[in-house]
């Protein structure tokens, strides 16, 4: 018996990404974000999530992709990983699907400019859908932020 995985599907640019549902705290509409100075540009700032201050990243910025415009479909997905709560700005989030762990393949070295270490794998759904599974602890790796900061300075 292979394991079923519940995954939240969200879109950035024209690609579809997935995060395991149990890591997602909540999905919010776009809300006012307070800019935090002296941070890498992909950190958009902080939001007030029901009394808790939560930092928000732009995922496309994080992967050094071009940032897209905010539309009415833009969402903030708040995830909790390693005792950190962080929000991701994504272009849309509208699906929860079950996938089989078996259909997740190890990612090729370079996928659309994103380094392979940010990815857990790629799931092929149906004939023409590719779902990129994110490795959240790598995405939120802080030591890398420090390096980025040093590069920017």
């Amino acid at each position: 018996m292979s394991e079923e995985l519940k995954v939240i599907v969200f879109g950035i640019a024209n690609e579809e990404y997935g995060i395991e549902v149990d890591k997602v705290r909540t999905i919010e509409r776009m809300m006012p974000i307070t800019r935090v100075p002296k941070t890498p540009s992909f950190i958009k700032g902080v939001i007030n999530l029901r009394g808790v201050v939560v930092p928000v990243l732009n995922l496309s910025g994080r992967f050094s992709l071009a940032e897209t415009e905010v539309t009415e479909h833009t969402r903030i997905i708040v995830v909790a990983v390693n005792e950190m709560e962080v929000g991701f700005i994504v272009d849309s989030a509208n699906d929860v699907i079950d996938i089989d762990r078996d259909i997740i393949d190890t990612p090729p070295e370079i996928v659309g400019g994103i380094q392979a270490k940010y990815l857990d794998g790629i799931a092929k759904i149906g004939d023409d859908r590719l779902l990129i599974m994110l490795n959240l602890s790598e995405v939120l790796n802080k030591s890398e932020i420090v390096q980025l900061e040093q590069l920017e300075v």
Binding site: I43, N48, N82
Partner: protein
């Protein structure tokens, strides 16, 4: 029964009792004749014993038991307190504390206390000092005291009830009932006996306790103390008429026999000429009944009955979060109601606003704890220190009721211990030195706490020898803390404050108590990390005063809200010296750095918009600048801002674990409109 469920309750309560024991022993030491204090101590010790035994911490229970024995003698005027007894009791208390600590750490609360136990039992036996006048009487009661978990057959409360009844002319009886050997329904029979007794009077006490009788936890006989309106003969007949009763003995009691009853159980046999209840089987039940019945009066006797409950601090935090959520909704509602303009809606919203501001006060107060929770251990500590150093020291505590946020309270204990130790060890002179200096033998250490503005001050002041600033300066130079050429520029106070520098200790001899040179800098680091400050003032020969300034709370601060374009920031009021408006033309340039003149000094001017890369504000196009002068210690700087919004109480929030160490920002807060504003860290702005 799952003991773990009760463990935290046990820990909390035993800490309370230990603290009460400590306080009362200290009180007793200053007023050794006051028997009422002994009663208080006895009650705490007894409750503690009962609790530990119930939880299965045998060592704890047995040590408390020994201490109780000593106290019992004192309470009954059979033993006079002296310094040896005090020391032993304090030692016992320390052992108890470490055992409870062990329990808290998940241990079994076991410890080797044979030494203390021996000392205690020696005191009970009275042979810790030879030829003492007390020996005889103390020894006489030894057996009683040491084998008596029973204590007296009657505790104080019961005997006083009986005594009063006798005085008011009622008859008091001691009744012993023995059931027949073939009796099947022992519980039922005993119930019938009680029924008879209660129809004619009142049962004061039974042995075994009623609960045990009901569960047939007794052999064949039980004894009862009762107040009755009928004659002994009538009582005997009435009880004997119940079937399956073998014998009934009814003994009337007078005041004299009562007095001996309440003091010791062995004397009971003599006084009432009745055989002691078959000890073996009853012993266990007796323990319990005495324990329970003593607990009850102990509670009655504590006038400050529990008006508090314990709440997990996380729940308070959750409450606070929910409350700030509600505040935000309130602001929205106010906005909506002013748009809709319906009078009844406006009234309701206004009422809600008033209620919620009251609620805010309460929620904030919930987190406040009196500093007494930290101070209460100090009298004992100073006493022990003074003893070990052979000094006479009086500690005067004032303002213990001053309240501080729980988080500050938790952190402030160690630094204060350090300051006090320092005062006692280095500050106060030895007795001979004091006399030579023309001071009174007893040194005084003042521990004060008081509110001032948005801060709480805690001061430790002694009338000791003061700081030798020459020595401090020499040392500072030799350690490289101060450059020799700068030495002349320093004021006395500045020199004295050098003792907070790292790796600094002026003590010539490293003592057990303080002087390892890692002291005061740690104190300062800790207090600064709490957002506070510590300073010292001293007059040589007269004394030294340490002054600790602490924020009232770590979760709510007063701040000045400002605008930079469309961004809002908060600056803690505690760092603000002044706000002002300056002309652009008055800005000076020193080495290319902008400076301004302020109160006869030239201070740096910092552009917040440049520092924070503000996207929507740049002051360079303005002719007038709003500035805020901030300080860090005695360094000043001015920051240029766009616009003042006003002063406000803000709730501190962290930026979360993902965003840490952002320079210039110490946290965030949520404003009335639900938006997040960042809190500027002025300390990071002044280099």
């Amino acid at each position: 029964m799952d003991m773990n469920a009760y463990l935290s309750m046990f820990i909390d309560e035993s800490n309370d009792h230990l603290q009460a024991l400590n306080d009362n022993l200290m009180r007793l030491e200053s007023a050794p004749e006051d028997i009422s204090i002994v009663q208080d101590i006895f009650r705490s010790a007894h409750t503690l014993k009962g609790m530990s035994a119930t939880m299965g911490f045998e060592d704890l229970a047995s040590l408390t038991h020994e201490m109780e024995n000593v106290l019992d003698l004192v309470r009954n005027d059979k033993l006079k307190m002296d310094s040896f007894i005090f020391d032993t009791l304090f030692k016992g208390l320390d052992a108890l504390e470490s055992m409870v600590e062990d329990v808290i750490q998940g241990g079994t609360g076991k410890a080797d206390v044979t030494h203390i136990v021996k000392d205690l039992s020696n005191i009970v036996k009275g042979d810790y000092k030879n030829g003492s006048a007390d020996t005889a009487s103390a020894a006489a009661t030894t057996n009683t005291a040491s084998d008596n978990d029973k204590g007296g057959l009657l505790d104080q409360y019961q005997s006083s009830v009986l005594k009063q009844s006798i005085e008011s002319g009622l008859q008091v009886f001691y009744i012993k009932v023995t059931l027949t050997e073939s009796c099947v329904l022992k519980a039922a029979r005993s119930y019938m006996v009680f029924d008879v007794l209660e129809s004619t009077g009142e049962v004061i006490k039974s042995e075994p306790a009623v609960e045990d009788l009901e569960q047939e936890k007794f052999d064949r006989s039980f004894t009862v103390f009762t107040i009755s309106s009928v004659s002994p003969e009538e009582l005997t007949t009435k009880i004997s008429s119940i079937s399956e009763i073998e014998t009934v003995e009814v003994l009337p009691l007078d005041e004299e026999s009562l007095a001996s009853l309440s003091s010791a159980s062995t004397q009971v046999a003599v006084a009432v000429e009745a055989p002691t209840p078959s000890a073996k089987t009853n012993e266990k039940a007796e323990d319990k009944s005495v324990g329970e019945q003593k607990k009850a009066p102990a509670k009655n006797g504590a006038p400050v009955a529990n008006r508090t409950i314990r709440v997990d601090i996380d729940r308070l935090d959750a409450l606070m979060n929910l409350f700030s959520e509600m505040l935000i909704d309130r602001v929205r509602l106010e906005q909506l109601s002013s748009e809709i303009k319906r009078q009844d809606l406006i009234d309701t919203v206004e009422h809600m606003a008033r209620v919620s501001s009251d609620l805010q006060n309460i929620v904030l107060k919930l987190r406040m704890v009196p500093v007494d929770t930290v101070f209460n251990r100090f009298p004992r500590m100073v006493r022990d220190l003074a003893k070990s150093l052979d000094k006479k020291i009086e500690l005067i505590v004032t303002g213990a009721e001053t309240e501080l946020d729980r988080t500050v309270i938790d952190e402030i204990g160690d630094p204060l211990v350090h300051l006090l130790r320092n005062s006692v060890d280095h500050g106060i002179e030895t007795i001979s030195e004091r006399i030579a200096a023309g001071k009174s033998e007893t040194g005084t250490v003042n521990l004060r706490a008081f509110h001032s503005g948005n801060h709480v001050f805690i001061e430790v002041e002694e009338d000791g020898k003061g700081i030798n600033s020459k020595k401090v300066l020499e040392k500072a130079i030799s350690k490289g803390v101060v450059k020799p050429e700068d030495a002349d520029k320093l004021s006395i106070d500045e020199i004295n404050n050098l003792i907070f520098s790292a790796g600094f200790s002026t003590a010539d001899v490293i003592s057990d108590i303080s002087g390892r040179g890692v002291g005061l800098d740690v104190v300062r680091t800790k207090i600064t990390s709490l957002g506070g400050n510590v300073t010292v003032t001293s007059v040589e020969g007269k004394g030294t005063k340490f002054s600790v300034q602490l924020p009232l709370t770590l979760s709510i601060i007063s701040a000045m809200l400002i605008k930079l374009g469309d961004e809002k920031y908060a600056i803690p009021l505690s760092s603000i010296v002044e706000t002002a408006i300056i002309q652009r033309s008055s800005i000076l340039a020193v080495h290319g750095n902008p400076m301004i003149k302020f109160r006869n000094a030239v201070i740096p001017l910092i552009s917040l918009s440049k520092l924070f890369d503000s996207p929507s504000y740049n002051e360079e196009h303005e002719e007038e600048h709003e500035i805020i002068v901030i300080h860090k210690g005695d360094k000043w700087a001015a920051i240029v801002i766009d616009e003042f919004i006003g002063q406000s109480e803000i709730v501190l929030k962290t930026l979360g674990k993902y965003l840490t160490n952002i320079s210039g920002i110490s946290g965030a807060t949520i404003l009335g409109d639900g938006q997040v504003a960042l809190i500027v860290d002025p300390n990071a702005l002044i280099k």
